[in-house]
Symmetry: C2
Subunit: 536 residues, 2 copies
Amino acid sequence: MAKPKKAPRPNAETPKGFRDYFGAEVTERAEMLGRIAGVYHRYGFDALESSAVETVEALGKFLPDVDRPNEGVFAWQEDDEGGKGDWLALRYDLTAPLARVYAQHRNELPTPYRRYAMGPVWRNEKPGPGRYRQFYQCDADTVGTASMAADAEICAMLADTLEEVGIPRGDYIVRVNNRKVLNGVLEAMGLGDDEARSAAVMRTIDKFDKVGEEGVHQLLTTGRKDASGAFIEGVGLTEDRAELVLAFLNSKTIVEKELRDGPPQPDERIPGGMGVKLNDLQDRSHSAGQAWNWAVMDHLMRLVGQTDIGMQGLKELGEIADLLAAQGYGPDRIVIDPSVVRGLGYYTGPVFEAELTFEILDEKGRKRQFGSVAGGGRYDDLVKRFTGQSVPATGISIGVDRLLAALREKGRIGGHVEGPVVVTVMDKGRMADYQAMVAELRNAGIRAEVYLGNPKNFGNQLKYADRRGSPVAVIEGGDEKAKGVVQIKDLVLGAKLAEGATLEEWKERPSQFEVPRGDLVAKVREILSAQQGGRH
Amino acid sequence: MAKPKKAPRPNAETPKGFRDYFGAEVTERAEMLGRIAGVYHRYGFDALESSAVETVEALGKFLPDVDRPNEGVFAWQEDDEGGKGDWLALRYDLTAPLARVYAQHRNELPTPYRRYAMGPVWRNEKPGPGRYRQFYQCDADTVGTASMAADAEICAMLADTLEEVGIPRGDYIVRVNNRKVLNGVLEAMGLGDDEARSAAVMRTIDKFDKVGEEGVHQLLTTGRKDASGAFIEGVGLTEDRAELVLAFLNSKTIVEKELRDGPPQPDERIPGGMGVKLNDLQDRSHSAGQAWNWAVMDHLMRLVGQTDIGMQGLKELGEIADLLAAQGYGPDRIVIDPSVVRGLGYYTGPVFEAELTFEILDEKGRKRQFGSVAGGGRYDDLVKRFTGQSVPATGISIGVDRLLAALREKGRIGGHVEGPVVVTVMDKGRMADYQAMVAELRNAGIRAEVYLGNPKNFGNQLKYADRRGSPVAVIEGGDEKAKGVVQIKDLVLGAKLAEGATLEEWKERPSQFEVPRGDLVAKVREILSAQQGGRH
């Protein structure tokens, strides 16, 4: 046989936009997902793991067009016998697969179907700093019920989940808005039938977080110069109408002012606002904690006027607030807040967002709120694509990596895995003895290993232990073997002493102990628990 | 805007060869992986999660050829600006990515590097019954040491892992072989330089599990008719040589016979065998439990003669057996057995396989052993592709789905998730009351939910509870509300009673209780623990 031509060495690199996760990055995520799954389970949600690969057809949003079949997704064509087959793609989120699964298995699944899913999703996008093309999502959705109780439940579960993973109450807020209220505002200002302009307003609102109030005002009216100097044309609303939209977005600030300074005088009222009083909504019993939510809704009532869609949106928000109040979730945890704009164009009813409210320092050293870690809402048309029938559904998606980053920022997780006890090798011929020590330690539940590198240079063994973050090293040379003892080195204390201990301290707390071989496990355990005590 | 043409409805189906996993299938796998990770961690292995996507170049084995760029893998070409970019592919195992990761990060990683990895892998193969194109693997490897202590450790860890996930001692065996011993056998029979014929022998041996002893004998010599009647040409070995190969494969049976009937008489000896006595190997101290391993090696000694490679293989097997004996792992758990043939062509030294030895009924109702659930070995050239330097490595891969199937077969896991307590909805207007009940139950750690479907038909609510496998239903109608009580239905007991209880039993153990509203949580907890008691 002729020898094949020698291929050049391949580059040892992840593809652009992908990365590897090591040690604590993996275990801390796994632990967090386990905790989240625990809460979801308690709420009656069932696990689902759909395949990572879907037909492009089923993913839908990214139906292949002739020029760029894989816009936004990683896609390829099946190589069927005798020709080309289906286009397949990696899922880009966990919602599109849920719609496919529900349509496919709806006869065997319970209705309503509460399911949770966690796993990687893939986006064929230009990667940027901290932006990867593979990342984790963790979703919970309820399919098959239009009841606002499902939406309220999702919000309560989200609050419970954040506390369960280590975000204390007060450090987060779940905000709830409703797409129908915004539709009501647009209808009240006479844009109800102007689809194009309504869509333009929706797109503009989506930029609220980015360009701020003044920017949105300019974009809704005459237009705006962006940072690069380019002019972005405005939607062309009148001042009055633009003010109404801003009054919707700024509901929170306006209501805060009202509650502080008393109700607005007639001439301070928002131009075009209807000033209608809450009637059927207000005669329910509600706790004092609800005052805020009702004040916001009173304000929104003035904006949506008597439009059916707006009133329905408010009724839905009221129901959610009532259900949450009955379960003890006040506005300190879940609050009605129309400034939630993300996804308003996608969702059809309630929209949710969870924000972490503590401050961090950004790249430039400025304080800012940590921001959003989860979002979701109600979407009633996703399954319809497959079956022709509308199936109401509502759910939430947690940004796992951002939540992990937040927990690290707060010092709630250490980014640190306890290293193993390292049994050093003083005599290559007695490897079996060392392995026996390690087996004893492991059987006692202690993480341990024998040094498996070249044992010639003892310094390298201690360097290795240091690199692994080992708490303890065990040494048994010929002398120790003859005396029936082992040396046990407390590496944590040793490092502390080396850093600047006085001779007295050194003598008082030795970092190395000689103990009978039979006491190995007991002494190691004693040192480990002393280290743990010192750490916490 | 012109309305876009209406697309036909997509099929709600997974791509061919893919499937979805529901409920217990997901949670039981997650729990098993968690237990395995616990053992790996205790052994000092660190977690690694590499990206699911690699460059085809890094995967190596599947370098794109012009005709079929994605033979065996799912591959696609990057759509770079201004042209075509790299070929990317989904990983087909966890070993090739480990080689890439180690080559890429070797300066930051400790040496030796012990890592574990778990996750899905993808194969672009023709799917068959029970064969999917996405499945889980769970690997542990030690990179950067040639020490047999690393191999012994992997075997011990594998035994511990099987016990940890619920396979009792005696129901599994880890078998160890060594590629170098087979090389020694081939060299001893004069095939050392005949690469083509050696490779043909290797390929034939790989079929041992499939065609059995007689089949291998025919294939090694003159050839064989397969089941379809087609003639497969033989390797053309002489009878003597073929007998030697079979004596290698049948070592276990031969040694069993020797230990039963005494050592073979000279004329019974394998033709061509050298009959050399163990010398340097035998003067070690070893426990009685080692007798078996040493008898096998004595037998192998006769087969490999004085070849260096064969002696080296035997020395390695001896080292592994010694190290394991020192840690208390006898041949009841880990045994030297040359009938392990899978992967002999791929690995360069020790080869491992874990088999479950209990019997199950196959599709045709015949008893057979459950078989292999894990395999691995030493491969010293994987990283060399990237760096040019040989890096010794050894490891194991557990077939997660087969192991799960085994545990289900043994009744060790139930394939069952405890359903939620269902609070039924008798009065749609009092949803907040029902949610409050559910919140109380959840806060007490009890899985619970309100029925969120259309509450009109009460029968549907109980049917839903049945479908969810709910243990308890809670009912609070208007009468109950007025009296300050709730009805609590024990659905497990109810089902039992309905199946055939006498009137006395029915009266004695009511399946429905009326309790004060304030006692809801306590009573539900009482019923749940009674159910659990009855189940175990």
